[in-house]
Every structure is written in structure tokens, then in C-alpha cells.
Amino acid sequence: MIEIRELTKSFGERVAVDHLSLSIEKGEFFALLGSNGAGKTTTIKMISGLQTPTNGDIIIDGMSIFSNLQQSKQLMNISPQETAVAPNLSVKENLEFTAKIYGFDKNEAIIRAGEMMEKFSLTDRAKAKAKTLSGGLQRRLSIAMAMISNPRIVFLDEPTLGLDVRARRDLWNILLGLKGQMTIILTTHYLEEVEALADRVGIMHHGKLCALGTVDDLKEQYNKNSLEEVFLSVTEEMEVLV
């Protein structure tokens, strides 16, 4: 379980994340929503150990990630907002490289890479250099690289940004297949993606967590028919719950 306690991040006068408290269950698919600059990416960076908070802590299975950073990093993996692949390495090499830096030996890395290529339908492009793949396939590879270390927690920062409808739907199906196997924390601007994938949703605005619950809970709580209406209502009212 991930327990976020009073997490705050300030950049000078500007407070990017403001006393964020939240618990995410093991195996949960959690979506973090918010307008641009709401503090989603900063939150993800802090939970994944990329940024140190100004205040607060994050506890994973009773262990503070900031006190045990190297150990915590072994449990997590990330697929950044921009596609982050090594362009001159093949699909297989990218996957094996990621497995190796997470401590897998050569044989394990080969086996894991094969499994990931199978799972993400990349086997027929195994020898293709990453830079020659389409945007959709590069994104798939980037997420496969995040999954190959068998992380307990994986962060997907806008994984379908810029993908066409087909590629997006294909990726949704893959992510649906991974549900329950690991804790997935997703940030996205696509609300239909949240409805299709997420167990629970948090909506951030001006660095604060303003709404939290399942999609149905939020619709009921805000008396709206769609998540989009809830989102607009929350980010307009700035009603802070937590």
C-alpha cells in the first residue's frame, strides 16, 4: 500500500503540491487528473523518488521512500510523459537493457524481454531500432520497459498522449490485462481513458487534491452525469476535500 502523508512541494513562492494526503491500495489502478500545472507530474515525480518534497512523506509497505530511496526505486518503474526509449537500440535491446539495470542477469533479461514483447505485441519488431517504430509502438515499448522490472508500482504519465484512436484502444486493452498485477498510477487528460481503466480517481487543482473516489462515487457526489462534468465542476469550485 502507498500512503502519501501531507506531501508538499514548493518552488520558491509557488506551491506546486499542497499538503496532499492519499492512500493507494496494492494492485489498484489509480488515475490522477488535473488541468495543466495542477501538480500531477510533480506528485508523480515525488512518489517515484525523482523529486524530494519540501514537506511530507510517502510510505510504501511501512517504509519511507525518501529514507530508503535506492531500495524503493527497485520496487517502482516509470513511463515518462515523453516516449523515453534508446533510439539506436532495438526493441529487444531496450527491454533487456532496462531489465539489466534493475538487477536481472543476462538470461533473466532475455526471458523477461521475450515475455514483454509477447504481451505488448512487439515480437515481430524485436530487431527494429526504436527510432524506426511508429509513435504508438514507441509508446508501447516505453510502457513495456516500465513493466519489465516486474515493479510493485508503475507510473504512467500520459501514456496515450498523441496516439490515434486505434493505438490508444490497443494500449487500453494491454493495460486492462495488467490490472490487479501491480499498482498502476496513471496521469492523463483523457477522461474516457480514466472511465475505461481506473478503479479510483483523484482530481488535483492548484496543487490540492480536490476530489477522490470511484467514477460512480464522484458522479453521485457531484450530481453529474459524466466524469467530464465532475472534472469541470471540481476545478471550477476548487472545493478542497483533503
Binding site: 535506492q70 513511463s79 523515453a84 539495470i101
Partner: protein, 241 residues
């Protein structure tokens, strides 16, 4: 072990870029042959192979600056480095991972240039082996510059800065002409920078003048430590932020 896996990835990234091969290995050889042809038509010894080869090898190292700077800048720009920062790699792994793969490339550059220079009349003897060691030490200076540029700038900016850097290396190092020909303030400025010292150390090594190597080499090593130190401090700061 992680640092070696990272180093292997970095080497593949560089060597699989055909432009790296053309510029890093091809250009110094073209220059060697070009200046040797020019020397044949000159009435005096301006571009003699004993003086030309060490300088051109040092000049070729400026492409190590480009390769390392571009790679690091590209990793930062594409979020690849963000992915790595989230992994269990430590600061030490990054330093080894970016530095180590450049050394075999430097060695390959030296060997390719030595073979070409031998064809043009440079004798290959025990001094050449000493020169290889000295040149490898000099190459770390150029890699350090690349890592500093890559830490500070994007890959596109590194490309622009390299254009300036390669000219500084070429004209303020005494590769193409003896700095004594100009002398004065120009020579003083050249010797405030490490490039002329690098060329002097390489020339002394090829000539077997061991005592003349150390003074120049110490300056080069001093610059290397400072430049690499600054790159590491800034990189670690960026890692934390």
C-alpha cells in the same frame, strides 16, 4: 554491473550513428592525407607528419566532446534520463556509464590515425606506445568537456557549442601551425587553455622526450579534473532536483 550495462548501451548509441563514424574516424584521416599532400608542395616543413599526426589525433578528440555531449543532451531532452533517474542506478553508475564507452572509441581513433600516419611515414616504435597512453589521458579531457556541455545544454545546443569548441581546439592549440610563429598575447592565451598543452604532450610522447611530457600533461590532467568535477557536481544537482 549496472554501470557496465549502461556503458554498453551508450557505446551502441554512439557507434550506430553513421555520422559519428564519418566525422570521428574519417575526418582526421582525410585531414592527415590532405595536409601531407600540401606538405609535399611546400618548400619548408610546416606539416611534417611527426608534428601533424599528434595534433590531428588531439583534434579528432574534439568529436568525443560532440558524441558525449550530444548523447547526454539527447537523453535529458527525450526523458530517457528521467527514466534512468527513477531506476536504481547511482550517480557513480552514470559517471562510469557515460565515460567508459568513450575510451575504446578514443583508442580506436588513435589506432586508425596511427595506421594512416604510418602509411604517410610516421615511424611506429616504443614511443608510439607511450604516445597512445598519453593520448588516452588527453582524451578524458575532451570527454569531460562533452559531459559538461551535455549536462548544461540540450543536444541541439551542444551541436551549436561544438561548432565554437572545434574552432577553439583547432586554432588555439598549435595543431596547424607553431604558436611561436605568432607569439605574444595569442600564444599566452593559447597556453592558458589546455589544448596547446595537450598537443605539446602528444608531440613530446611521439618524440620520446619523456621529460617534456609531464609539465604539459599535468596541465591537461588538472583541467580534466576541474571540468569533470564541475560536470559531476551539476549532474548530481540535476539528479536531485
Amino acid at each position: 554491473m549496472s554501470s557496465l550495462h549502461f556503458a554498453s548501451r551508450n557505446q551502441k548509441e554512439i557507434l550506430r550513428d553513421p555520422l559519428s563514424l564519418v566525422f570521428g574516424f574519417g575526418l582526421p584521416i582525410v585531414l592527415l592525407f590532405l595536409f601531407s599532400i600540401m606538405q609535399k608542395n611546400l618548400p619548408y616543413g610546416l606539416f611534417q607528419i611527426e608534428h601533424l599526426a599528434p595534433g590531428i589525433i588531439v583534434f579528432g578528440f574534439s568529436f568525443l566532446t560532440l558524441f558525449s555531449g550530444m548523447l547526454l543532451g539527447k537523453d535529458r531532452g527525450s526523458s530517457f534520463l528521467m527514466r534512468l533517474f527513477a531506476s536504481p542506478l547511482s550517480a557513480k553508475d552514470y559517471i562510469i556509464g557515460y565515460l567508459l564507452p568513450m575510451l575504446p572509441i578514443a583508442l580506436l581513433q588513435i589506432i586508425v590515425c596511427l595506421v594512416a600516419a604510418s602509411l604517410l611515414g610516421l615511424p611506429f616504435n616504443s614511443n608510439s606506445l607511450l604516445a597512445i597512453i598519453v593520448l588516452l589521458l588527453i582524451s578524458i579531457l575532451f570527454i569531460s568537456f562533452g559531459l559538461l556541455f551535455g549536462t548544461l545544454f540540450t543536444d541541439k545546443q551542444v551541436g551549436g557549442i561544438f561548432a565554437l569548441f572545434v574552432n577553439v581546439t583547432a586554432f588555439l592549440s598549435g595543431i596547424w601551425f607553431s604558436l611561436d610563429l605568432i607569439g605574444g598575447t595569442f600564444k599566452t592565451i593559447c597556453y592558458l587553455l589546455p589544448f596547446a598543452h595537450a598537443v605539446d604532450a602528444a608531440k613530446a610522447a611521439f618524440a620520446g622526450n619523456i621529460h617534456d611530457i609531464w609539465g604539459s600533461l599535468f596541465v591537461v590532467i588538472g583541467y580534466t579534473v576541474v571540468i569533470m568535477g564541475i560536470a559531476i557536481v551539476i549532474f548530481r544537482k540535476r539528479m536531485r532536483s
